[in-house]
Structures are given as C-alpha cells and as structure tokens.
C-alpha cells in the first residue's frame, strides 16, 4: 500500500507528515527511555525482517498481489512504540533507496502503516489475548487476528485520506469497497504469515517477544 507522490493534494500530505513526525518523535523518546532491549537489538532486527518480508509479494485473487505490512508482527515482537519506529525505518529506506513509496508521501505512508497498521494490529492482539487462554501458545493466534485486521484498517485510512485530499474524484463507496475488499484478502495472508512467525519465535525465544508479557503469570511463590 505504498502511496506514490501525487495521489494526495499537498495540504493533506503535509498534515500526514506533521502527524507522522509527532508520532515518531514520541516513539523515539519512549523507546529510548523505556529501555527497549539492546541485547539483542530487537527493534533493528525486527525492522530488517519486516523490510525483507515486504519484498515478497504473494498472489491475491486474480491479477493482484499483496505483501506483508508487518505492523502487527512488529508490535507483538517489540511493542507498539518500537514497532512504529521499525515500520518508519522500513518505509524511509524503501522510499529513498528503492523509489518505493513517494518521498513527499512518506508522511502518508507512515500514518497508514507505521501508525494505523501498528496500532490496530497491537490493540486487536491485546483484545484477542483477553479472550484466549492465558499462555504463550495463544499469542500466534492473537497476533494473527491483529494482523488480519490491521491491513483493511490501513486501507480504510487510505480511503479516508483520498476522499479528503485525493488527486481525483472517485465515489466513496466505490473506493471503500475496492480498497477494503482487496486488503481484507491481503490481510488473510498477513495473518497467516504473522501467526507463523510469532509461533516460531514464541516457541524458541519467548523472552524476546514483547507480547509475552500480555500472557505472563505472576511468579508463583515457592513455599
């Protein structure tokens, strides 16, 4: 869902850039002071993994493809604030080095993927955890659900932005239906990959998965 330059009018792009900059500044301050794990450098590793996963487009329906967004995955692995930074770094590298996603549209892409994608992914994961048994084994499913919903949520956000400041006039219903329809399908792929990756990591290194604290039980006192 990398928005190119020109899709959105300048005022809309500027607004998203301002929102993005503010959120990133907050995220940087939070991760630096809260002590996101340095050893290993989880945020950097997760961002790199998300970049790599975003290069693997998979067929969707007839004639389209999707790729992992990675917002829910990153949030589950390093927490939502660090995940915002991870996705921002990925989008910045993609726009500047690979001409993937506009440079003036970087703020927009950050809002869509690093903010909406991460936030929805995280909160749906959290909500899912409350409905599931309180064990590590629930995390892959919870993360998968978060991931499934994060993608159409970003599509809804894009639809909103385009209806407000898009370069052309399109019917709201038409745009919403197309964007949400395709991105719900893509979300299913996102959910499957996210659940799989979280499953592998939670079974090998649960100590390095941020979301494991959502299911942690208080230490039993040994009599």
């Amino acid at each position: 869902m990398h928005v190119p330059d020109g899709f959105l009018a300048a005022p809309t792009s500027v607004c998203t850039a301002v929102v993005a900059a503010g959120a990133i500044a907050m995220a940087v301050r939070r991760t630096r002071s809260e002590g996101v794990v340095n050893e290993p450098p989880m945020a950097a590793l997760v961002a790199t993994l998300v970049f790599a996963l975003q290069t693997v487009n998979f067929h969707v329906g007839d004639g389209t493809s999707g790729h992992l967004l990675g917002g829910a995955l990153a949030a589950v692995l390093v927490g939502p604030w660090a995940a915002t930074i991870c996705l921002t770094a990925v989008l910045t590298v993609q726009a500047c080095i690979f001409a993937d996603g506009g440079i003036t549209a970087l703020g927009t892409n950050v809002v869509l993927m690093a903010l909406v994608g991460v936030t929805v992914g995280w909160f749906v994961t959290r909500a899912s955890v409350t409905l599931l048994p309180r064990t590590n084994a629930s995390l892959p499913l919870a993360a998968g659900l978060g991931a499934v919903l994060s993608v159409p949520a970003a599509a809804v956000a894009f639809t909103g932005l385009y209806l407000v400041g898009g370069a052309t006039d399109v019917g709201a219903g038409e745009l919403a239906e197309a964007m949400i329809g395709w991105h719900t399908l893509i979300g299913l792929g996102e959910g499957a990959f996210t659940a799989g990756i979280v499953g592998v990591l939670i079974s090998s290194r649960p100590d390095l998965v941020h979301a494991s604290r959502l299911v942690a039980r208080p230490e039993k006192v040994v009599a």
Partner: protein
Amino acid sequence: MKGGRHRLFTAGLFVAALVIAACVSQFASGRPDGLEHVAGSLGFAGAADPHAAADGVFADYGVRGWDSPVGSALAGVVGCVATLALTLFLTFRRPSDRTTS
C-alpha cells in the same frame, strides 16, 4: 552464556532476513499490489508523480544497468543493511538516555 545466546539469535534473525530479501524475493509475485490495482481500475493511477529517486542505482529493487537476479539480491541485501542501521540509530539506548532511578 547469555551473550552467546543473544549473538546466535541476532545472527540467525539477520541471516533469515537477508535470505528472504535476497533469495525468496526472487519468487515474489510481479502483479500490481492492492493499491496499484485499485488505482488502475478506478482511474487515479495516472495521478502518481514520477519518483524523485527513480534514477537511483537501486530504484525498483534492482541494480541499474544490471538486469540479473544477482542485482536484485544485492538490492535486497542493501535494503536490509540500511534498515538495520537506520533503526539502530533511532532506537539504541545510550547510558545518557536512562531516566533517573
């Protein structure tokens, strides 16, 4: 030893990313992604401006002038390294960042 476990994990995850970006990506679908497809069918694909970095060496995940899977593998590696470096820069906690205890 904790350091050893972490080093193994770090290396493993980074290598996995490199393999995905350099090799698995070779098999990626070439179809337009969801947004491009919608833009095409609803008629706003043409609104996209030419990209400022479109003449860059690695634009479009390849190496300019080198039409080979090795070129796109190299682009994948470059992207991984750049992302790792940028995120380290943004998140690495220095002793001076510690809040007063």
